[in-house]
């Protein structure tokens, strides 16, 4: 008998269908990976199993947990089930914990709510649960508050909370998506160990094929509220039938073709760049300290090259980006584009600035919602002494839109009328319009679903060849960097610890940190990739 058995589950919220005929099983001690892009209904399936659905939800079908029909349970019985029989871990560790209560208090609450034990006893068991989640008491006492912990540590608290009563089933909804790659690997190891120790079933939900493939015993692939493919992990990748599954797999491993080879001429030269921040300790009048975000970084990008910059959050890559773009002055070293400084006499050099553009990560926050697309795209014209006007401008906007695969009529629409992938194309059009030589892609595909990401990467490769563009590709995602860049820099704590040909770095990393990163990055099984 399965631990959790979902049969023909359909769900609608206020009449809108969300799930249709979803079925899946989890056995004790096994890991079920649920894969899907945004809107596939994978999270809703998990919330349905917990019966923590939004108001107006109607479920139909069967959800059997441990021999009990969940859909027949009343609210009281559901409360008794949640936390005791099923634990849950969420995507956003930064907001999943109550900010004003101690971690010990919050873990102990799971125990106190289900069992009649003293507070002291519950705290002792909370300490034990935290220890199992690898937060030992000597370093992370129960009296810590969430804001004193990092994202990965908070996720461990959430896990400790979920496993405190040794539930039979653990549901983890994108548990590592918000985390850095090395932290992700540690959390996944932790989950795997807990499953083995307690004989729990684990439902692991992710958009990342590689994360799931590494860990899961069984896999379910979902799309638009339906299960399109399911089976044991070791055979599924070879035997999959559904065109969507195949496309998803292809997109995950997609490597766009780029034809032009880089010339042996440097375009951007970064030499010994230092960027200090003055940190005010107590208001502007108080004591100040300096924080060095970039510590003497040097590298070059050749014309037509695609250079990757890899590092985890807080490593200084965003600061470096702002310095290259001439938005902030550096305290030491020089940044030259085609031999000319980006910053001269405390002012950004306009002539240089107009030869670089940038594409940001967030397809939703990158555009002023009150402007039409035409005006948004034309914004970089501000950098030109004599920007085109009238028909010349309209023609340039149309050209830019068409070159990224959109229609020239789209310039009269507002940004909310476009999907995430289309918005990223518009962002690229905005970067292209003043015909720059260098485009900085700041996590430009990180927020996109894999299939859309593959299309945008193809577009970038194609544009690079057509316009002779040079790319600085900043990402935390090693698989993307590996597939699209010629050379790669690895950055840690404000320094570049390794650089070289992408293939060489990935195949034979020299620096300890690079090894860790590559080791930690989840990969698809070799025979399918």
């Amino acid at each position: 008998m399965s631990l959790l058995s979902i049969e023909n589950l359909s769900l609608s919220i206020h009449g809108a269908p969300i799930l249709r005929d979803v079925s899946m099983q989890i056995e004790p001690g096994r890991i079920l990976g649920v894969i899907g892009e945004s809107g596939s209904g994978k999270s809703m399936t998990a919330f349905a199993a917990m019966q923590l659905l939004p108001d107006g939800s109607v479920c139909d079908g069967r959800i059997e947990l441990n021999g009990q029909e969940v859909l027949d349970l009343g609210e009281q019985d559901l409360c008794r089930m949640r936390g005791r029989d099923v634990g849950m871990v969420f995507q956003e560790p930064m907001t999943a914990l109550n900010p004003i209560r101690t971690i010990g208090d919050q873990v102990a609450e799971t125990i106190l709510i289900h069992e009649k034990v003293s507070r002291g006893a519950a705290m002792e068991r909370a300490a034990e649960a935290l220890r199992r989640a690898e937060l030992p008491q000597d370093r992370f006492p129960l009296s810590r508050y969430p804001f004193e912990l990092s994202g990965g540590q908070r996720q461990r608290v959430v896990i400790a909370m979920a496993i405190a009563l040794r539930p039979k089933l653990l549901i983890a909804d994108e548990p590592t998506t918000a985390l850095d790659v090395t932290t992700q690997a540690q959390i996944l190891d932790l989950l795997k160990r807990l499953v083995a120790e307690d004989g729990m079933g684990l439902m692991l939900i992710s958009h990342d094929l590689a994360v799931v493939a590494d860990l899961a015993d069984d896999i379910v692939i979902m799309r638009k509220g339906e299960v399109v493919e399911s089976g044991p992990a070791d055979s599924l990748f070879r035997t999959m039938q559904h065109p969507y599954s195949k496309a998803l797999l292809a997109a995950s491993t997609h490597a766009p073709d780029r034809e032009g080879a880089p010339q042996d001429v440097p375009l951007l030269q970064v030499q010994d760049v230092v960027r200090d921040y003055t940190v005010h300790m107590r208001g502007w009048w108080g004591k100040t300290t300096t924080f060095q975000a970039v510590k003497g970084v040097s590298f070059e990008i050749r014309k037509g090259e695609s250079l990757g910059l890899v590092g985890e959050s807080g490593c200084g890559k965003s600061t470096l980006t702002r310095a290259i773009l001439g938005l902030e002055e550096v305290q030491g070293g020089s940044i030259l584009l085609d031999g000319q400084p980006v910053f001269t006499g405390h002012h950004a050099n306009r002539d240089i600035r107009r030869r670089m553009q940038v594409v940001f990560q967030d397809p939703y926050g990158s555009f002023n919602p009150r402007w039409k697309v035409g005006r948004l795209i034309a914004e970089p014209y501000h950098l030109l002494e004599q920007p085109p006007a009238g028909r010349a401008k309209a023609r340039a906007i149309a050209e830019a839109l068409e070159s990224v695969g959109l229609q020239s009529e789209d310039q009269h629409k507002y940004i909310h009328e476009f999907s995430g992938g289309q918005r990223q194309r518009i962002a690229i059009a905005r970067a292209l319009i003043i015909k720059p030589e260098l485009i900085i892609l700041d996590e430009a595909v990180s927020a996109l679903d894999v299939s859309v990401r593959a299309q945008v990467l193809d577009l970038l490769a194609d544009l690079g060849d057509r316009f002779g563009l040079t790319y600085l590709f900043i990402s935390h995602d090693l698989s993307v960097v590996r597939n699209v860049t010629d050379r790669v820099l690895v950055m840690k704590a404000g320094e570049i610890v390794e650089q070289g040909e992408t293939k060489a770095v990935f195949d034979a990393p020299q620096h300890e940190y690079t090894k860790q990163l590559i080791e930690a990055a989840p990969v698809l099984p070799a025979d399918v990739a």
Binding site: G283, L327, G365, S366, P369
Partner: protein, 272 residues
């Protein structure tokens, strides 16, 4: 849907009182400057739908003329608050963490320590009571309200990537504030504007009631209530109708504010 209902109901009430004020410039049932002692303190009747006051003046006409005072005072006070508060808030946000930001915000805190009534008392003590001084007092109090709102709205916008894109396009803080920040805080400002407008009407009524606002012969709702107070036991209609006028105007503006907020931000509708 509820948001729309609020908007229509509130907008309707507001429109009634705004048009009463406008119509009073052209026509009122009775001239409010002419006393008619023979008809003093009459309850509602066919000739005087809302009755007459202790000088025999028609209360409906007085309310129509009084609406002018209330609306004018509140409108100008909101104008002062927005006109000074919004630029201050935009500047503070653009220069976040600087000495200028700190000065603007501490200045705001200081003005907040003086409730509008205290400002009015001080101004009256210095310059004497008048409608103009009521406007200034309420207006000064509105400045920090709009400055804070603008700053907090602007601060969250400054972290958006589209502001970064504008900086990459070589635009300075002033241009970014005008092109990207201000248009995206206008919704907030409109909603707060209606709320401050209604608070302004309440404040004007309170000031006039204690004699710190509009002076006779200017008709004002607050003064009408002050006049009615000693006669409330035998002429309750004199207190009832001006009070209702204030209540309904303020209610209308508040409902309109809620409705506008729901219309601008459907996400808030859920949380409200």
């Amino acid at each position: 849907m509820k948001g729309n209902r609020n908007l229509w109901l509130g907008g309707g009430l507001t429109l009634i009182f705004a048009s009463a004020a406008l119509i009073s410039f052209l026509w009122v049932p009775y001239d409010t400057t002419v006393l008619d002692i023979a008809n003093k303190i009459k309850g509602p009747s066919g000739a005087h739908p809302l009755g007459t006051d202790h000088f025999g003046r028609d209360i409906l006409s007085m309310i129509m003329v009084g609406a002018r005072t209330s609306i004018a005072v509140a409108l100008v006070a909101v104008g002062i608050g927005m006109g000074l508060g919004v630029p201050l808030g935009l500047t503070a946000a653009a220069k976040k963490g600087s000495l200028l930001d700190e000065l603007i915000m501490r200045g705001n805190d200081l003005v907040f320590a003086f409730p509008s009534l205290l400002i009015a008392i001080m101004i009256t003590a210095v310059f004497g009571a008048s409608a103009l001084n009521a406007i200034i007092a309420i207006g000064i109090f509105n400045i920090p309200v709009f400055a804070r709102l603008t700053r907090s709205g602007a601060l969250s916008l400054w972290t958006r990537d589209y502001v970064m894109a504008a900086r990459v396009a070589g635009k300075g803080a002033a241009r970014i504030s005008a092109e990207h920040i201000l248009p995206n805080v206008t919704n907030l400002l409109i909603v707060q504007g209606t709320i401050q407008f209604s608070l302004g009407i309440l404040a004007e009524a309170g000031l006039s009631y204690v004699g710190l606002g509009a002076q006779p012969p200017t008709a004002s709702w607050g003064r009408m209530l002050a006049d009615s107070q000693t006669m409330i036991s035998f002429a309750p209609h004199m207190a009832l109708f001006p009070g209702l006028a204030i209540l309904l105007t303020v209610l209308g503006l508040n409902l309109m504010g809620d409705g506008l907020r729901d219309m601008f931000d459907p996400k808030l509708r859920r949380a409200r």
